[in-house]
């Protein structure tokens, strides 16, 4: 661990800015960067399948998980991820069965998640300020354990998204043809749902439950307006996610704003700029 500590300290000492001196900022920057680069890697497959709001549905279920954590006195992050995985599987199964329309399935999960969370929070007697930190993020109180969790999940999700990109692309581009090519579409969809759920689990640490989907979807939505291929969109949205996360944390330090909201506003600005650029290019 000494080597790691040396690298860590050396890196931050070399940083010329004042905010790099603070422990909480160092951890916030690393956590935001990890989430910023990971969330779009899974978000792109949700956008491609027109399931942009799935991340939101998962986040709402995670809220019930957090509340369960408070009620039973366990670590809220763990129960949140468990609830998120279950919620994601439920959405995916309802969607695949075709009995329920995708948006109705999402509605059930959205309101079920929030109602369940509010109910359990009430039962456990959690304070309102505590609830707010989960709704809007609590990046500045990120612990080293959180960072390790984010690092592990980032490696797994980025690794899977990169290695299996051709299969994931084929399934989200044309499910039927992928099935006729012998791809186990159901397994792939469940994999994406689980990956989305654990990504939501760590992302909500940074931007909060209510903004979690923004991190998954907005960088992709911005970049896809100016790209011409899936690969370029993939690489571009990871880069944009990283950029807005770091820029958001730094901005929030100077203007004393909540970092989660600042990051997502940055993504919105990028989206608007990309739209304007795409329009201008179409006209010229």
């Amino acid at each position: 661990m000494d080597v790691f500590a040396n690298v860590w300290n050396g890196f931050w000492n070399a940083c010329p800015f004042e905010f790099c001196r603070w422990d909480f900022m160092q951890r916030a920057l690393v956590a935001a960067a990890l989430v910023g680069v990971t969330a779009p890697a899974i978000g792109i497959f949700l956008v491609q399948r027109r399931l942009s709001l799935m991340g939101d549905g998962i986040g709402h279920v995670a809220f019930t998980g957090i509340a369960a954590g408070f009620l039973f006195g366990t670590l809220p992050l763990v129960t949140a991820i468990i609830a998120a995985v279950l919620g994601a599987l439920a959405i995916e199964l309802m969607r695949a069965r075709g009995r329920t329309e995708g948006d109705v399935a999402l509605a059930v999960v959205f309101y079920g998640g929030i109602a369940g969370g509010a109910l359990l929070m009430g039962l456990s007697g959690t304070s309102n300020t505590n609830i707010l930190t989960y709704l809007f993020g609590y990046l500045l109180s990120v612990t080293p354990t959180d960072i390790l969790a984010a690092l592990g999940i980032s490696i797994v999700v980025l690794g899977a998204a990169t290695l299996l990109r051709r299969v994931l692309f084929a399934v989200s581009y044309d499910e039927e043809v992928a099935r006729a090519s012998g791809v186990s579409v159901r397994a792939v969809n469940l994999l994406v749902a689980v990956a989305a759920a654990i990504t939501v689990g760590v992302t909500m640490r940074v931007v909060g439950i209510l903004l979690v989907s923004g991190m998954l979807v907005l960088p992709v939505a911005a970049v896809q307006q100016v790209t011409r291929s899936f690969n370029a969109t993939f690489v571009g949205s990871l880069a944009l996610g990283l950029l807005i996360s770091i820029a958001g944390v730094v901005t929030s330090y100077y203007v004393d704003a909540p970092p989660g909201a600042t990051i997502v506003m940055g993504a919105i600005v990028a989206f608007v700029l990309a739209s304007v650029f795409a329009r201008a290019r179409a006209v010229v």
Binding site: Q48, R50, L164, S172, Y173, D174, R179, A180, G182, V183
Partner: protein
């Protein structure tokens, strides 16, 4: 020779509706079969059943001599669905879409191989789209998008091509060039199963026509000229449809 597809007593039910009733069908190596029928006659259901996309409620299906359940050699089948009308949110280049058709023949993880790149290149050459490989599919014309989907099916180097109303909404000139491409592929040894509204420009290529009416096969034989005038005249219960290979109004069904 083992038939590429052999369906006996194929029945498909959607709830209380019989979409396919006791259908017997085979497709032999090298054949060019056109599957005709009005809207709702069960053509698409039959194609999906042959590909294992829609489960049979009764009957038996062998694909390349293997019962469907145990069939794994999906690379031997190239499937061109009815136009993928719902363009996805994220742009995809022609090359990427065609490469996706290679999955059945290549490993599922990691970057694509040289062999994949060769097959994609050849498929794009065959449909005359090699110069457009970097273009986003969404910006292409309907006819060009159709050729991309055919190239995707060809990238797997299949022995049989299954096409579901591929020229819906495509103008006559492109239909003719499309028919020429199909003829070339068929002469090159691939068998073809093509779903269509009526014979039209492909008539000279077809070795056998199968007509579905309300989920039942009611003709299986030589492509007779009167099939031009639509089978609907013989079956007053069928939905009236203009007996055209192309459908001027376009739109997926």
């Amino acid at each position: 020779m083992t038939p590429h597809f052999h369906l006996s007593g194929g029945t498909v039910k959607f709830g209380a509706t019989m979409a396919l009733r006791n259908v017997h069908f085979h497709l032999d190596a090298g054949e060019f079969v056109v599957l005709l029928g009005a809207n709702g006659s069960g053509k698409t259901t039959m194609v999906k059943a042959l590909l294992g996309l829609t489960p049979l409620s009764k009957g038996r299906l062998d694909v390349f001599g293997t019962p469907l359940k145990r069939f794994r050699d999906w690379g031997r089948i190239g499937y061109v669905p009815q136009r993928a009308s719902a363009a996805s949110g994220v742009p995809a280049s022609v090359y990427e879409v065609v490469l996706a058709g290679r999955l059945a023949r290549s490993r599922k993880w990691g970057p694509h191989t040289k062999d994949d790149a060769r097959a994609v290149g050849e498929a794009l050459e065959l449909v005359d789209m090699a110069d457009k490989h970097g273009e986003p599919v969404e910006t292409l014309s309907g006819g060009q998008q159709q050729r991309v989907l055919i190239a995707r099916a060809l990238a797997g180097e299949p022995d049989v091509l299954v096409l579901d109303e591929p020229v819906t909404g495509v103008d006559l000139e492109h239909q003719e060039s499309f028919a020429a491409t199909l003829g070339e592929l068929n002469r090159g040894g691939r068998s073809v199963l093509l779903v269509a509204h009526a014979l039209g420009v492909i008539e000279p290529l077809v070795s056998r026509a199968v007509v579905l009416t309300q989920g039942e096969v009611n003709y299986d034989g030589k492509p007779l000229r009167e099939l031009h005038d639509s089978h609907v005249h013989h079956h007053p219960h069928s939905v009236e449809e203009p007996p055209r290979f192309s459908h001027p109004a376009g739109g997926p069904r």
